[in-house]
Amino acid sequence: MLCECGKHEATIHEVIITSDKRKVERHLCEFCAREQGVSADPYIPIDQLISATNYIMGQALTQPADADAKGDQGMEPAHAKKSAPSAPSPKSPTSCVGCGLSFAHFKKHGLLGCPACYQTFCDRLGPMIERAHEGGCNHVGKVPKRALQSCKARGDQSQIETLLGDIRQREERLETLRQRLAKSISDEEYEKAAMLRDELTRLTTLASVQVEPRPMGESIESQQSS
């Protein structure tokens, strides 16, 4: 096919779907394409490849991204509509109280049904999860930021506990971290130790838990430099 200029072979084929859904095709050679601002590059942005009627665009605003954190009302918390995950049954239940999924179904397909499944099947899931995560059995790291800030602001102790666990659980977790920290120091894995110490500090300050990290973390630098 020849280009609109009639001189060279058309190698750039552009299909534009106009706002009134008309399809406009252009066939250009590389020279004309360059002149008319159509790229000869085989790369085309995804919003120009996807059929124009098939997507909608969000809004680019001039404020920095983190400005959104303020004044956002958010949606009605989903659990306000539905029952919150229930407490575990004293016996080992065969199906989840939240969604009805049976443990046998989980074992067959490998997927849990709802957040409450973790609590319902906690006893049986615990060891499986530990094996899958190289012995990891307690979460370390990020906590939903806005959820935590809003329960702290409200002074809602029970909500804080649903996010961070009760004081006993938090202390247990801190103790595990302390043991890991002590082990990494004795194994001379100082970088790992420094990260565990940071995590320990972070976890301690997350809620107003009055458990101070033991001073052993502070000895890392002195051991490193020795």
Partner: protein, 372 residues
């Protein structure tokens, strides 16, 4: 706006950044679920529609740095061609395109969607995949730290309007317990021709698996690795914080593999330079003159050419040009660029045509000139 966008390659194709001779791109994925709803596989159609609507509203209302914007696509309403484009583009999984979940449930009309940050496509968010939200950030080179930091920013923005399912012991709750905890997957796309040619690749793959890492092909789970492209990612998500996982991957594991690959390349160049030079130029020669080409063959030849360019054996070809061709020669990209459906043979011809034009030798280049 449209012309301006042409100048911007997807960020991960730029071939720039740290260790980009070996690390083609870095990707960070966070798995999140909304509290009070069953996970996607167990959710009813009504639940899924509600989850989709809540996430879509939230994502489209997020304030992004100008000029970036989120583009939202309702996947159950679009044609297969658009879904395939998004998979080829690495913006979503094959599983999400099909709407089938790993337990065999679901189908094409299941309410699900994807948001892509325009123009450089470095962020995408799948809604109603195996988890309600799968947020990914992707960049060129070894850039897991910056990917993670950006993923956390969008994660916090989403969480500003939605309650996540979270448990004090298990962390962020996910449909599959193998993702629970941080819900964090750190992956790098590696180009390992040196290790492949020196026969050490299997050793590295085994070592990576022994360290609890997953090794996958170009298109993730279950895909083959034409052209020696491999994705390596962490599997452990519980018991280690985001920073610990990041440090392990970015400062320890990946630099080691990069070191092995560079050593293998140098060793091969020192001992087998003529053979490698011949192989690299044969690959480029085939790309420049073939009249019909399969996707896998194109990927293999482009991989060898990439190696030739990075080793200084082939001049005057830019790495991002090769990366762009790796994408532009995928079946659906070819058809959409040409604006028509093509049969398999037509695709092979069109693929060869495109590569021939883009990698045409400079006018002053001739084998005689090189020998002289």
């Amino acid at each position: 706006m449209q012309e301006a966008a042409f100048a911007n390659n997807a960020e991960w194709l730029k071939g720039a950044g740290n260790a980009s001779d070996v690390v083609m791109s870095s990707r960070v994925r966070l798995a999140r679920n909304i509290a009070g709803f069953p996970f996607t596989p167990q959710a009813s159609r009504v639940d899924r529609a509600q989850i989709l609507e809540a996430c879509k509203t939230r994502i489209l209302n997020m304030q992004t740095q100008s000029p970036t914007r989120f583009m939202w696509i309702d996947l159950h309403k679009v044609q297969r061609e658009d879904r395939d484009l998004l998979v080829e583009r690495q913006l979503m999984s094959r599983q999400h395109a099909r709407g089938k979940l790993s337990d065999g449930q679901g189908g094409l009309d299941e309410p699900r969607g994807v948001a892509v940050l325009i123009p450089d496509e470095r962020v995408s968010i799948m809604v109603n995949e195996e988890d309600h939200i799968r947020l990914q950030t992707m960049k060129s080179g070894l850039a897991l730290g910056s990917c993670l930091s950006e993923a956390n920013t969008y994660d916090d923005l989403i969480e500003n309007g939605l309650d996540y399912a979270y448990h004090p012991r298990f962390g962020y709750l996910t449909a599959c317990p193998t993702n629970v905890g941080t819900g964090l997957r750190l992956s790098v796309m590696l180009h390992l021709p040196g290790l492949k040619m020196s026969g050490e690749l299997e050793k590295v793959r085994r070592a990576a698996r022994d360290m609890g890492l997953a090794v996958r092909g170009f298109y993730g789970e279950g895909s083959e690795s034409p052209g020696e492209f491999f994705q390596i990612s962490n599997q452990t998500t519980l018991g280690k914080s985001d920073e610990m996982l990041l440090r392990e991957m970015e400062q320890d594991i990946i630099p080691k593999i990069v070191g092995y690959e560079r050593a293998a390349r140098q060793n091969m160049l020192a001992n087998r330079r003529e053979i490698l030079e011949d192989q690299a130029w044969r690959a480029l020669g085939t790309l420049r003159y073939a009249r019909s080409m399969k996707t896998e063959e194109a990927m293999e030849l482009l991989s060898m050419t990439r190696f030739g360019v990075l080793s200084g054996l082939i001049p005057d070809i830019a790495i991002d040009q090769i990366h762009t061709l790796l994408l532009a020669t995928q079946p659906m990209h070819l058809q959409r660029t040409l604006g028509q459906a093509l049969t398999q043979q037509q695709r092979r011809t069109a693929r060869a045509d495109l590569i021939r034009k883009k990698l045409a030798p400079p006018e002053n280049e001739s084998p005689v000139a090189r020998d002289a």
